[in-house]
Amino acid sequence: MAGVAVSTTINGDTVEYLCQPDETLLDVLRDRLGLTGAKEGCGTGDCGACSIILDDRLVCSCLVLGAEAEGRHVETIEGMAHGDSLHPLQQKFLEHAALQCGICTPGFLIAAKDLLAKNPDPTEEEIRFGLAGNLCRCTGYDKIVRAVQDAASVMKGA
């Protein structure tokens, strides 16, 4: 099959790649570009481990084609910290031990960042529903919710 040439922006950098027309953006990120921070937990849009932000929209990258990224802005977990200073969400996830195995963590961080961008002062319920597209099997979500609450209050103060 002929490849599709794509030019896109990933974490602020211009990136060009060739991909198959039926290849997912998740596969492109992981297998072609070496950005393995987004994880494949299901490949069917059910777990959120592959969450990325595409032009200000939270999406499952396993449900987006690589070719669809043409001309758009992609944000992945690899772009979340600035140099060696962590995003407040990353910092709070560490402090609250909001991760055990950590496989769901990149997806949660991206989803939480998107949530706080749209709703800087969410209630517990809004956080719970806002993150309901991301599965975590280890934590029972308690510490994740607390980390997001704490990060929200830090970010408001900033």
């Binding site: 937990g41 992945t76 991760l99 517990e124 280890c138 934590t139 029972g140």
Partner: protein
């Protein structure tokens, strides 16, 4: 090395604090490498062809067309994995499960595999493999499978453990029995008897990371395996045995692991990946899809359990009995046996008997799932206990306290208990504000207890002190939930240095001696024991180096707060030497400083928990909401309390999913109908409330710090606690897990 593992009652500086884990930054930045995040140059993509039939004879497999497809580098079937198990039945089952030999025994059973240049080619190749099946009748239900008329999975199986040797083969591989006293006499003394039958459906561990590995076999017989596993040393042994390799030539590196819960204690795809790589002469990456994870890995047993408990008016249990039938998938297991051992472990019983039946069914091979077999047994027993308390007219907590096991009690599985925490967790639950909080309409409160053994096992740890005084700790137990942080705390505690000076890593199989896997809640218990022992060995060397520097006898040097100190007035002029100073001079005092430890960390303390929960049921739809949840559990000593809380919360959440939603649903054709997270629904964030935790610390006498395993017990009580809460909310005893809305509605209707 004379290591004394006894609890010393010391006070702590580092242990019990809550620092950030050493692998944390990598995990929040996406840098941490899990099973599928690793690649080798020239690697191929491996894919597995799976049986669409629940039970079928494999007459013939024709791989010729697939082999001819451009880009296909290897196709394998069972013929490429010859039987080298030499009469080891358990290993043979593992082999047969990795690749079906003569029969496909469940929907999803592997029958062939390919390695190709890319995923698309591999998928195409699978379609070109022709398998000639003779479909056989199947059975997936545990009770059905026990009937004489049921299709037989294996006609060479005759039930073990029966008084009379059976003359006919059966799907029941084994009968086991536990208990003591005389239950007939015990029931004779009872004023009240409750007798009930219960069922639980099969669930999956549900780790978010699918099984993944990269295998590379060289023509000289050496091999590398990168894999997500709970035990890379065990994987090495199993793979080496199944492939006829020397263990030392197979280096297994454990990746970061994205959840296991028991499901990553078995090899599934790894021997297949190695066999593909051997045949293709190139590295092969094999990653399961979610569909494959559900159909062919995990799951836990489906069960059917009868319970009978009798008590006197005063609330003393006089006799208890249970018959437990557990599905094992197509291969013999000991799942019902563990259920039979754990069922009544919380109670002090003079007369108790449990009988377990291991049952073969056409479902995937049952794997351990967090305190395997205990949650289902606890569901049945704790439901009956609640009902009995109600009949007697006693508060369910009081009733349990009255009958709780204590130090000196003969456990229902045999041995007499040492110091244990069931009583204290019940007292703590009784006094918890949660117990007194008001309930609204359609709401019910339930509580239940749980028990798990906890394991120790073979453990090996290296502690190396760098010339700059920093300490690297190499452990061989895979870190499934923060154990590197806990073990760094332990090393810091023992050496008397800062947590930040210690860096713990999980070493590969070529860098460290054998370690059992991280199962049975043993990771922190065992490796902390080995870490303490290794640190003590290093301290001996540190003291020796200081003694040399000072030119005094080593016996005059003590180790305190990270420093060597010359003790006695005659040494008043010798300033203490820090670990850093001794390390800096090590080149001149005898070379590198390290401490090693190889031990069997036996004596893991048993653990108990009590859970309380409030549930609201919508009587119109049967849907449920968890309003409040509290976990009380004994940790022995919480090394890193935040991660202990995390284990409590995670286990409770898994139990909630099991109790209310999760189940394998098979069609009439014996095929799994919900192999995905959409239809196999695990709890999401909006399904749950905060989960309160209370850590009790009743020291384990067999660990220097008093540590007990903490990982598993938390999944034992939830099924029962929630069933009791739902039963209280709707006024009908719930006897079938999961309590999905249709089941709750049906139970309410049946009562009307």
């Amino acid at each position: 090395m004379n290591f004394d593992p006894r609890y010393s009652g010391r006070s702590f500086t580092s242990v019990g604090t809550r620092p950030i884990r050493p692998d944390g930054v990598d995990k929040v930045t996406g840098r941490a490498r899990y099973g599928a995040d690793f690649n080798m140059a020239g690697q191929l993509v491996g894919r597995v062809l799976r049986s669409p039939h629940a039970h079928a004879k494999i007459r013939k497999i024709d791989t010729s067309k697939a082999e001819k497809l451009a880009g296909v580098k290897a196709v394998i079937t069972a013929a490429d994995l010859p039987d080298l198990t030499d009469g080891d039945a358990a290993m043979y089952d593992i082999l047969d499960n990795c690749m079906a030999r003569t029969k496909a025994l469940y929907d999803g059973h592997a029958v062939a595999a390919v390695a190709a240049v890319d995923a698309r080619t591999a998928r195409q190749a699978l379609k070109l493999i022709e398998v000639d099946y003779e479909v056989l009748p199947h059975v997936v239900d545990v009770d059905e499978a026990m009937k004489h008329t049921a299709p037989l999975l294996n006609d060479a199986i005759f039930t073990e453990g029966l008084e009379e040797k059976p003359v006919k083969p059966s799907n029941v591989t084994k009968r086991t029995q536990y208990g003591h006293g005389d239950i007939h006499e015990g029931f004779g003394q009872a004023d009240f008897v409750v007798e009930r039958s219960f069922k639980t459906e099969q669930t999956h561990q549900g780790y978010i990371e699918p099984h993944a590995c990269v295998a590379s076999v060289s023509s000289d017989g050496t091999a590398d395996l990168w894999v997500c596993t709970q035990g890379h040393f065990v994987y090495r042994q199993h793979c080496a045995q199944l492939l006829g390799m020397e263990a030392s030539k197979l280096r297994v590196t454990s990746s970061e692991i994205g959840g296991g819960f028991g499901g990553k204690t078995h090899v599934w795809a790894e021997p297949v990946a190695l066999a593909l790589s051997r045949k293709a002469g190139r590295p092969v990456k094999l990653v399961m899809t979610r569909d494959e994870v559900f159909r062919a890995s995990g799951p836990t047993s489906a069960t059917s359990i009868d319970v009978r408990i009798g008590a006197r008016k005063d609330g003393t249990i006089t006799a208890a009995e249970a018959t437990l039938r557990y599905s094992c998938g197509p291969y013999a297991g000991m799942w019902a046996e563990i259920g039979a051992m754990t069922a009544f472990a919380c109670y002090k019983l003079d007369n108790v008997r449990t009988v377990g039946y291991e049952v073969l069914v056409n479902r995937p091979k049952t794997a351990a799932y967090r305190a395997p077999s205990a949650p289902m047994a606890a569901f049945a027993v704790e439901s009956a206990v609640d009902e009995l308390a109600k009949e007697i007219g006693m508060d369910p907590v009081e009733f349990r306290i009255r009958n709780a096991a204590q130090e000196g009690t003969r456990s229902s599985y045999g041995p007499v208990y040492g110091p244990i925490g069931i009583g204290p967790t019940l007292e703590a639950a009784k006094n918890h504000p949660h117990m007194k909080a008001p309930l609204g309409k359609n709401q019910g409160r339930g509580m239940a207890c749980g028990f798990w053994f906890n394991f120790g096992g073979q453990t090996c740890t290296d502690l190396n002190i760098g010339m700059d005084g920093s300490v690297s700790l190499a452990v061989g137990t895979v870190d499934v939930g923060g154990s590197r942080a806990s073990l760094s705390l332990v090393a810091a505690e023992e050496l008397g240095i800062d947590y930040g000076q210690v860096k713990a890593v999980v070493a590969d199989t070529s860098s460290l001696g054998y370690n059992d896997m991280t199962d049975g809640s043993r990771g922190t218990f065992s490796s902390s024991m080995a870490t303490i022992s290794a640190a003590r060995n290093a301290i001996k060397t540190l003291r020796d180096r200081a003694a040399q520097t000072w030119d005094i006898p080593i016996d005059d040097v003590v180790w305190e707060k990270g420093h060597a100190i010359a003790k006695g007035e005659k040494y008043g002029n010798l300033a203490a030497l820090s670990l850093k100073e001794i390390a800096a001079a090590s080149g001149k005092t005898g070379g590198p400083i390290a401490g090693h430890s190889e031990l069997v960390a036996d004596g893991a303390g048993v653990s108990f928990a009590t859970h309380i929960c409030d549930i609201e049921v919508d009587p119109e739809t049967g849907s449920t909401r968890v309003l409040r949840y509290t976990v009380v559990q004994d940790a022995g000593k919480a090394v890193h309390p935040t991660y202990v809380e995390g284990q409590y919360q995670g286990g409770a959440a898994q139990g909630i999913g099991w109790a209310l939603n999760e189940e394998y649903i098979y069609g009439k054709d014996g095929r799994l109908q919900n192999p995905g997270f959409l239809d196999y629904r695990i709890p999401v964030c909006s399904d749950l409330p905060m989960i309160d935790t209370q850590i009790l610390e009743i020291p384990n006498p067999n660990h220097p710090y008093g540590v007990r395993g903490v990982g598993e017990t938390s999944i034992v009580p939830p099924l029962a606690a929630i069933a009791n809460a739902v039963s209280n909310a709707v006024g009908v005893r719930m006897t079938h897990i999961p309590m999905s809305p249709p089941r709750i509605l049906a139970a309410i209707e049946a009562e009307r």
